[in-house]
């Protein structure tokens, strides 16, 4: 957000400079300095994905921002026909290779003989039958820089991506959005039959996927001829991203720039850097689809859905009739993070001012988390405990205690002890969730049988124990002999209350462990290290 604003001011400043120096002979040129570098991206389920991404640098690569997926948005101002990207290859690790930049749909300025790059590293015409194309353009080898220039930039929405070894470099994360408007607030030069190309605010939705198997194979140098993974033939993505993130309860809505008001023309730029087809569906209104792959249609199309294939871009105008959140999701139903639901390609576009602040506070001796359960998400407390909502939004909250803690209730602007509650955001609201209990830990001591008892099969006996602290909610009990496997007495029974517990054991008629050398073992189901055994053998007669 700040970056956008700074960029905008930068262009504004440049534009003013340009206006007051009309004698300047060359036209204004958009110039970017990008690095390609490694990053680790953490998925909502904790899986850490090794990725490659683009990061923005200052002029001359003096300093570089960390890489992101997708990379920074490349913006070419209206009226500017030139784009220059300086690229430095900062990839490190067990496996590195040259990278490059292409923008499908934009014609680059390339010297004769400088492209493509063959598998032997040479460029230009093919000179040997063993050569195969490795890169669609010239490359920046690891540690080196190259300059990529486009001198006739067309208006529209485009994907930029690495042009080298694309089958892994694109899944690794080397992609981003590039855009140029035909005029201020005007996506394309309008035509008589497709006249409504101006917009009040805009938002980019870039769809992509991650198959952790491919990324891990590349990062560990296990990808390539003769290695563990020889191709992307078995590509089977597990994570489905919009603007680099899969859905999770803590992910808030996406705000157009500037914020969209009711009846504004909101330009939505759809891009796909993934390898599968997706079908974004927008709820609430049909959109006017203006353009495809940076080409204005002869006529716009009215659709609530869009077949978004790999590498494609679309521009659509949405005119929301109500404040709130426009639901966007992939109707191909990639709506999980691996097997976990909800997740995947689900997000919300904010319409109206998101200015009602919800603040969640946790209190009490116990621990737990509070998450939003409904659209548009945004709270995942303790990581993210505040979120601004459009006035009138019903925010559903759910309290989930950690093991050993209990949820005790809501207070301040919510009440009750049900773990779910609803807060109507018609004003700033504060909600406190109280958890009782405490940190998991403590000890358990088996008190009977503790050695010397004589029990009989097919009778009922009582097993007792004591515990201190907060070991966990349930215990399991097993019978052991010095040799052989343990036999289960119970898989799961409550630990009891106030420091002691018991289990009534109806000893089965054919219980498989008998003799005078039996011990019982009790352990906490959630933490097997908290455990105890009978101090000595007892007897279980057949």
């Amino acid at each position: 957000m700040d970056r956008f604003r700074i960029k905008k001011f930068r262009y504004l400043a440049l534009a003013i400079l340009f206006l007051i120096t009309p004698m300047a002979g060359t036209s204004l040129a958009a110039e970017y300095w990008l690095q390609a570098a490694n990053l680790n991206k953490t998925m909502p389920d904790g899986q850490v994905i090794p990725m490659w991404g683009f990061g923005q640098c200052t002029s001359g690569f003096a300093t570089c921002d960390p890489p992101t997926v997708p990379g920074p948005e490349l913006v070419v101002p209206p009226g500017d026909n030139n784009l220059t990207v300086n690229l430095i290859n900062n990839l490190t690790g067990l496996f590195v290779e040259p990278v490059s930049i292409v923008i499908p749909g934009q014609v680059p300025t390339l010297a004769a003989g400088s492209w493509p790059t063959w598998t032997d590293g040479t460029t230009g015409n093919r000179t040997s039958l063993t050569q195969r194309v490795r890169s669609l353009t010239y490359e920046a080898i690891p540690g080196a820089t190259r300059i990529y220039i486009w001198n006739n930039v067309k208006a529209g929405t485009y994907l930029y991506e690495s042009g080298t070894h694309q089958q892994i470099q694109v899944p690794m994360g080397l992609y981003g959005a590039m855009r140029k408007d035909a005029g201020a607030g005007q996506a394309y030069t309008p035509t008589a039959t497709n006249p409504n190309t101006t917009y009040d605010s805009q938002v980019t939705l870039l769809f992509s996927e991650i198959d952790p198997a491919i990324n891990n194979a590349v990062a560990t140098n296990n990808y390539g001829p003769g290695k563990v993974m020889t191709s992307t033939n078995d590509y089977k993505p597990k994570y489905f991203l919009i603007n680099g993130e899969p859905f999770s309860p803590g992910r808030g809505a996406i705000s157009p720039t500037p914020a969209a008001a009711v009846n504004d023309a909101v330009l939505i730029r759809f891009l796909s850097a993934g390898s599968l087809d997706h079908v974004p569906v927008l709820h609430g209104s049909h959109m006017e689809i203006l353009a495809e792959d940076g080409n204005l249609y002869p006529f716009s199309k009215q659709q609530y859905s869009l077949l978004l294939a790999s590498g494609k871009t679309f521009d659509a105008i949405l005119t929301p009739a109500n404040a709130g959140y426009i639901r966007v999701y992939d109707r191909r139903l990639f709506l999980t993070n691996a097997a976990a639901s909800p997740g995947g390609m689900l997000t919300y576009i904010t319409v109206g001012a998101a200015n009602q602040l919800l603040t969640v506070t946790k209190a009490g001796t116990g621990t737990g988390k509070v998450t939003t359960t409904n659209l548009p998400g945004g709270i995942n407390c303790g990581l993210d405990c505040t979120e601004n909502f459009v006035s009138g939004t019903m925010a559903g909250l759910k309290a989930t205690p950690d093991a050993g803690s209990q949820f005790a209730g809501w207070s301040v602007d919510a009440s009750g002890t049900d773990p779910t509650t609803t807060v109507t955001m018609n004003a700033a609201k504060n909600v406190t969730a109280t958890f009782t209990g405490g940190a998991v830990g403590g000890a358990i001591t088996l008190t009977s049988p503790n050695g010397g008892e004589v029990w009989q099969r097919n009778t009922t006996q009582t097993i007792t124990w004591t515990y201190t602290g907060n070991p966990g909610a349930y215990v399991r009990i097993q019978a052991l002999k010095p040799t052989g496997f343990p036999a289960s007495v119970t898989f799961r029974t409550p630990i009891g209350a106030n420091g002691s517990g018991s289990f009534t054991w109806r000893i089965p008629r054919f219980f498989g462990r008998t003799g005078n050398d039996i011990k019982l073992k009790i352990s906490v189901t959630t933490n097997a290290t908290i455990t105890d055994m009978s101090n000595d053998f007892f007897t279980l007669n057949p």
Binding site: T193, P195, K236, P237, K238, D277, V279, V281, H283, G284, S285, H286, F299, K301, Q302, Q303, Y304, S305, L307, A321, N322, R327, Y329, R331, R332, L333, F334, L335, T336, A338, A339, S341, P342, G344, L346, T373, N374, L375, G377, M394, G396, T420, T422
Partner: protein
């Protein structure tokens, strides 16, 4: 056992087709569904479990919508859900009662301003819309402001619940009249048929059946069954509400007369794109996602295609017409070898006049032109169930005993199917899957 059942089905089909022939139902074919009184129709839907039959004999556990009033399909869970048919500008109410064990909801993509409120219970706000917990009832209301073909489906864990069968069709009829799809003369039709396309990965259904929903990895989905209106080929050609398919009430057998305008409503019900291919002629795609393909000054943006890529959640409307024009020979077989000298077409052979019904639709430029091949002898032919024994429309030729039982009216059969050929199977068995037929009937045949 399966084979016996199949044979029984074959015989029954023949009988039914014969009954269809003599049926005297008035009017033209209409899509089956629930209709309620305008302008405030109230639909009561109930979500419950059931089993459907695949054509390989498999029974698949499903979640589906049912008519909560117990009338449509006797209130049984059905796949796909009941087709809701309303009129433009109706204030539509859908009450959804949840008889499943998980929260559910309904989304109406393409409808503006859908309101949701609980009728009984507290519900869940939900990620996409208000949800009914088990035992609860939620109410959705909206104004069907624009005519067209739409879909509805679950908005709660859609990746599981759509797979399990919680989707259906919504048809909004225009103010212009009953035989228009939209408020435009170009959308006029004589008959209409609905094709809801879907697929199933039956392993997921088994997991749900055995209470192991948590073992389902949605990213590992691999469908092996494909359906048109919830039935796999050739179950698709049996009539609506056929008793052998208590949970799959909708057929998709498109019968038509020459020159009739057939409105083909296509809906992507599942999660994959299906290239739906109509043999016999190109069709003119006139609308997508419930919007007529027209420019701002009424420019015609419709287009001809012989395959429509029906993406999931999308809807398409197309006009299909079969004329028999310009084929170069008389499809009604008015020229005959008479006297039968075996020299057809010979100089003494007779050219018959068309019947008045034939004359109304015949391309007279081809009248009495002989078919440009010598018809092979029966013993040189391979027979199929839809072959009548004659190349001429409405003319039942000679067939060996036991052949041709599916086509007593001697119609021209065209396979309408997914052009992703893999989808013409049911769990690896061909033929089956996403496969049905369009049949051109002789003008004298009454189509209900």
């Amino acid at each position: 056992m399966n084979k016996m059942t199949k044979q029984r089905i074959v015989i029954l089909l023949g009988l039914i087709a014969t009954f269809l022939l003599f049926s005297t139902a008035p009017g033209l074919a209409r899509i089956q569904g629930i209709t309620k009184a305008s302008p405030n129709p109230v639909f009561n839907l109930t979500a419950r479990t059931g089993f459907i039959s695949a054509d390989d004999g498999n029974s698949i556990f499903m979640w589906g919508f049912a008519d909560g009033d117990g009338l449509h399909n006797r209130g049984r869970m059905q796949y796909p859900g009941p087709t809701l048919i309303v009129n433009q500008n109706d204030n539509v109410t859908v009450n959804l009662t949840n008889q499943l064990t998980v929260p559910i909801s309904i989304l109406f993509p393409g409808q503006d301003g859908v309101n949701a409120q609980m009728v009984t219970g507290t519900g869940n706000l939900g990620l996409l819309t208000l949800e009914a917990n088990p035992g609860e009832t939620v109410r959705y209301t909206f104004q069907a402001s624009q005519p067209g073909t739409y879909t509805y489906y679950s908005g709660t864990r859609p990746e599981l619940q759509v797979e399990m069968g919680l989707f259906g069709a919504l048809i909004v009829r225009p103010t212009m009249g009953a035989n228009f799809a939209y408020n435009h003369a170009d959308s006029a039709f004589d008959r209409e048929y609905l094709f809801v396309l879907s697929e199933i990965d039956h392993r997921f259904h088994q997991s749900v059946r055995f209470g192991r929903t948590n073992q389902i990895d949605n990213t590992a989905v691999f469908p092996v069954y494909w359906f048109v209106n919830g039935r796999a080929g050739f179950d698709t050609v049996t009539r609506d509400f056929y008793p052998l398919f208590p949970h799959q009430p909708y057929g998709s057998f498109a019968r038509m007369h020459p020159r009739e305008r057939i409105l083909v409503r296509m809906i992507g019900g599942g999660r994959d794109l299906h290239p739906f291919h109509l043999h016999g002629n190109h069709h003119r795609t006139i609308a997508r996602d419930g919007r007529l393909l027209k420019g701002p000054a009424d420019q015609d943006l419709s287009f001809l295609a012989f395959t429509t890529g029906v993406a999931p959640g999308q809807t398409f409307d197309a006009i299909f017409t079969w004329t028999g024009d310009n084929v170069g020979w008389d499809i009604y077989g008015h020229a005959v070898d008479n006297p039968p000298l075996g020299n057809f077409p010979g100089p003494e052979d007779v050219c018959l006049d068309p019947t008045p019904q034939e004359a109304a639709v015949e391309d007279m430029g081809d009248h009495c032109n002989p078919i440009p091949v010598l018809l092979p002898d029966n013993k040189d032919l391979t027979f199929g169930p839809f072959w009548s024994g004659s190349p001429f429309l409405g003319s039942a030729g000679s067939l060996p005993p036991g052949e041709g039982g599916f086509n007593p009216t001697s119609a021209l059969f065209f396979m309408w199917h997914s052009h992703s050929e893999k989808e013409l199977t049911s769990n690896d068995i061909f033929p089956g899957g996403m496969l049905t037929f369009g049949a051109v009937e002789h003008p004298s045949v009454v189509i209900p």
